[in-house]
Amino acid sequence: MPVIYRISFRVLRDKAEAEDITQETFLRAWKMLPDWEPRAKFSTWACGVALNLCRDRLRRKKAILVDVLPECADPAPHPEAQLAMNQTVERIAGHIAALPPRQREALTLCAFEGLGNKEAAVAMSISVHALEGLLGRARRSLKAVLQKDIMP
């Protein structure tokens, strides 16, 4: 499955929205290709586009939850679905989803998708130093909660 889809899913935790983001990213790629100038790797550019689209979605979601539907902010999955899922994996996924968005993006690009630090930093429009800060904080937070919850 395309990396762009995986990145989008890991940031948004929503399959349909990740598919939309993947489609939109490709659409922008097709439009941009005739005028492409290799200032950066094309793949890095594509990751950056996908991340920006994900951020837009997250901002819109947040606005809806805060301004219109505060009573619908319960993120608990449907009880029947929850029973069918592997609870341990879900708890891990839940802890990742609870990370601040930028930490989750950094973790997605580097830990899950294996981007190099420079490429991930370019995709996120930050410095390598800032990227390492985000990654370090993300892993420290996860280690702390998972050590209590799952890890031996």
Partner: protein, 153 residues
């Protein structure tokens, strides 16, 4: 003998930031960091064990397969393919010239994008098409990872 350009603290940072697998550490620091690990394994054992446990947890989180129609939806937005009367130009070019390699690359790219669609829905990438543009990668090694189905290299 360890590499003095890297301190033990920096190696511990690399483990804390990037995880236990040296293959994902920054390339510029990887070799020196490996030397530290081999010379003073006891210094890094606990950090590596903790990072490895976290890596193992992260590796357990799956990503659901996208809808099979996604590939077709993506390809439907691609520049339209048209047959030319003469001198066809392939969708993907090799250094600006028509070639079998370019056609093969087109097959690879389109096949990978459409890889999770059903075979009957696949686009035939070897049909000569007119596009008016070429893509910014020229060899199969440069094929963008975001077009690949598997893990990135």
């Amino acid at each position: 003998m360890t590499d003095l350009s890297l301190t033990h603290d920096r190696v511990l940072d690399l483990i804390a930031i990037y995880g236990a697998d040296p293959e994902v550490w920054p390339e510029a620091e990887r070799a020196a960091a490996r030397r530290h690990l081999s010379v003073s394994p006891e210094v890094f054992a606990d950090a590596l064990a903790e990072a490895h446990a976290l890596d193992a947890c992260l590796a357990r989180v799956p990503v659901p397969e996208p809808d099979p129609s996604l590939a077709n939806r993506i390809m439907a937005t691609a520049p339209k393919m048209r047959r030319r009367q003469a001198a066809p130009v392939y969708l993907f070019r090799w250094s600006g010239r028509r070639s079998d390699i370019g056609a093969a690359l087109a097959a690879l790219a389109v096949g990978l994008v459409a890889g999770y669609a059903t075979a009957s829905e696949a686009v035939d990438p070897l049909i000569p098409v007119e596009t008016g543009w070429s893509v910014p990668w020229e060899t199969s090694d440069e094929l963008p990872f975001w077009l690949k189905e598997g893990d990135m290299e």
